[in-house]
Symmetry: C2
Subunit: 388 residues, 2 copies
């Protein structure tokens, strides 16, 4: 399956831009489409969120599904994060293999093959947290504990309005928590309550109002656990849209923010208008080049829907074009940059775009091209894996 030819082909891919490492102006010669990561901006975001969480006395457990990159996870932890979140078993495997000490898998798992893979990965971890919304998931956690002879920490996954995963209401939380407590090898650690439906609400008052309603639900569930004599040391959740509102309320103990490291076009919009908390800046860019320029007023580039996930706000051009340049994809492999004043750009001109939605955009690439100013400092691998 993984023939030498294919491994060589991948190695070639990794080397396409290697010759530019450390060279002045390397960023502007990058082979495209490519993912560019501005290290100054990344470090600023990592530091700002770590400081913010520390001053609010909250634990920070950034979501690794955003970047799928052990190099970034290590920097988040060095800045103060207690570990990371993963969304998939393949991500747990990738991060555990790179010495990340503590992982919370934020989606419930019952599939026996995935449990075997989790158990193998768990051996390299100091701590594994899993979530449950069904007795079958509790049995699944027990299987991992049994296979590894190590404790699995369990959070009851609570549905706070997105109706994706999670149990509804304090009674169901308590009933499932009881089952966890009664199961050998498991430690009840608390609650997970991720309100994904709030994170993308652009209007700040609406976001606050809905977030407060969610916080009331989470408070009721936490209090139900405590009043039944059960542990609820951790309440994990929140996101890049609501972390400031959630930190203020002090119901969550742990922030699962993911996109803050990159700040895509959509989250930039969400946090522009009246949000509190630290300033976060765009750090992730899609580099593309002009491949055709036969018309006044626009040029065709090589970044389309295979280079950028399209859900989210429109991408914006951050580099390489005059103010007022608008971008839209034009099929899988092409984009169109519309230029003011019937302008044009030469063939080969490089543009950089702030992508609409960072997580599924990162998912399209093999690596980050890490830059400071005009220089490519490093290539960081993005952990692959379509399988969850």
């Amino acid at each position: 399956m993984d023939t030498p030819t294919l491994i060589q082909a991948r190695a070639r891919l990794a080397r396409i831009n290697e010759h530019l490492l450390g060279k002045p102006g390397g960023r502007s010669q990058i082979d495209t489409p490519a993912l560019v990561l501005d290290l100054d901006a990344l470090e600023k975001n990592i530091g700002a969120m770590a400081d913010y969480a520390a001053t609010r006395n909250m634990a920070l457990r950034p979501h690794g599904k955003t970047h799928k990159c052990p190099e970034i996870a290590r920097r988040q932890i060095a800045a103060g994060a207690i570990g990371i979140c993963c969304a998939k078993t393949t991500e747990v495997e990738a991060f555990a293999a790179e010495d990340i000490p503590s992982i919370l898998l934020t989606a419930p798992v019952a599939d026996p093959r995935k449990l075997e893979r989790l158990a193998r990965a768990r051996k390299a971890l100091g701590e594994l947290y899993m979530v449950v919304d069904d007795p079958a998931h509790v049995d699944a956690c027990e299987a991992v504990a049994r296979l590894t002879q190590q404790t699995v920490n369990v959070l009851i996954d609570m549905d706070v309005g997105q109706h994706r995963t999670g149990v509804v209401g304090p009674e169901a939380v308590v009933a499932l928590a009881r089952r966890v407590i009664e199961t050998k090898g498991l430690t009840l650690a608390g609650l997970q309550a991720y309100a994904g439906q709030l994170q993308h609400i652009v209007e700040v008052r609406e976001r606050e109002s809905q977030a407060r309603a969610v916080l009331a639900q989470v408070t009721a569930a936490r209090d139900a656990l405590l009043s039944n004599g059960m542990a609820c040391g951790i309440v994990s959740g929140s996101g890049t849209g609501t972390f400031d509102i959630d930190a203020e309320a002090q119901v969550y103990t742990e922030l699962q923010v993911g996109s803050y490291v990159f700040m895509d076009a959509h989250y930039h919009e969400v946090r522009q208008k009246g949000a509190q908390g630290p300033t976060l800046v765009p750090a992730l860019f899609v580099a593309t080049q002009v491949i055709s320029n036969r018309h006044p007023g626009f040029v065709t580039t090589d970044a389309g829907s295979k280079s950028m996930a399209l859900d989210g706000s429109a991408p914006w051009v951050s580099r390489g074009a005059p103010q007022g340049c608008a971008y839209r994809t034009s099929g899988d492999q092409f984009g169109r940059a519309v230029l003011p004043d019937s302008g044009s750009l030469p063939l080969g001109a490089r543009l950089e775009l702030v992508p609409p939605h960072c997580d599924p955009t990162v998912n399209l690439y093999e690596m980050f091209h890490c830059v400071r100013g005009d220089v490519i400092e490093a290539l960081w691998k993005i952990a692959g894996g379509a399988v969850s």
Copy 2:
């Protein structure tokens, strides 16, 4: 960059479903999300299009960007295709390394680094066709010919309404063709005229009417070349939406159809209503499993926008759920299957979906799980590479 750990991680990924190869019922136990390819349906589509092209006396050069899979390209060629199209230099590299004899790169290239890579790949090819819409692209083709000491066949890329790449009008075609003829190492082979804007028009009369207008433009350009004593042996274009209309008109000599091998939800809709030509059947499916089922009437699955490109018609459930089940993604890593009669499905139940749009969906995966009936017969590698 490509550390042993990462190569091992990829090899592990390739092995996740290897234990199911050849086992009865393996298809229903697949680790998810995964891309399933029905070989009977694939072979039917490959054969039907090859027969159709042969009876219309047209060359078939399927687009490799759809599948990025040498195994599929080889089967297309064995059935009668004269070679394949590629959209990216990385695809040319991947296919050339796997003994595909003749490739047409359908996007113009001027980037010097890509030209070096093309020249290296070209050595393994019998024939390379490139397209041009600018004198700089002609110089680029000349560079490849010079670097390889081998002829490059050149098609003048014509803009027939999509305004993405290509020159506009017969005069511009002739002027650029003259430049090709005058350039050492290049052979003028004809025209490329891809009308991407027509392929997705669902209403058949509208599609026909617009296709006829494009065919008139292409005829005028071809006749201008011929009346100037220039070669126009090849007119390459068409697609899965219009190939029957184009075959009837006998202006194109070569069909660049891509999606016909898989038939996604959108092309299924396009070809359902009044289209002529062979019957094409869905061959590509996204396998997903139920991970949460706390509500009557719907379940949550593990295939979201990281597992399926969302442009195109809505995905439909082809396996694993009762008639009338509707599917929508719910974030990056989750989907919702809505069941009739307030029904539900057990945790771990496998569903298969016909994805909205095949090309960018294939782009999300490492491999095809090739099935006949319930048995996984083979795993076929999808050539990676975000860089174009």
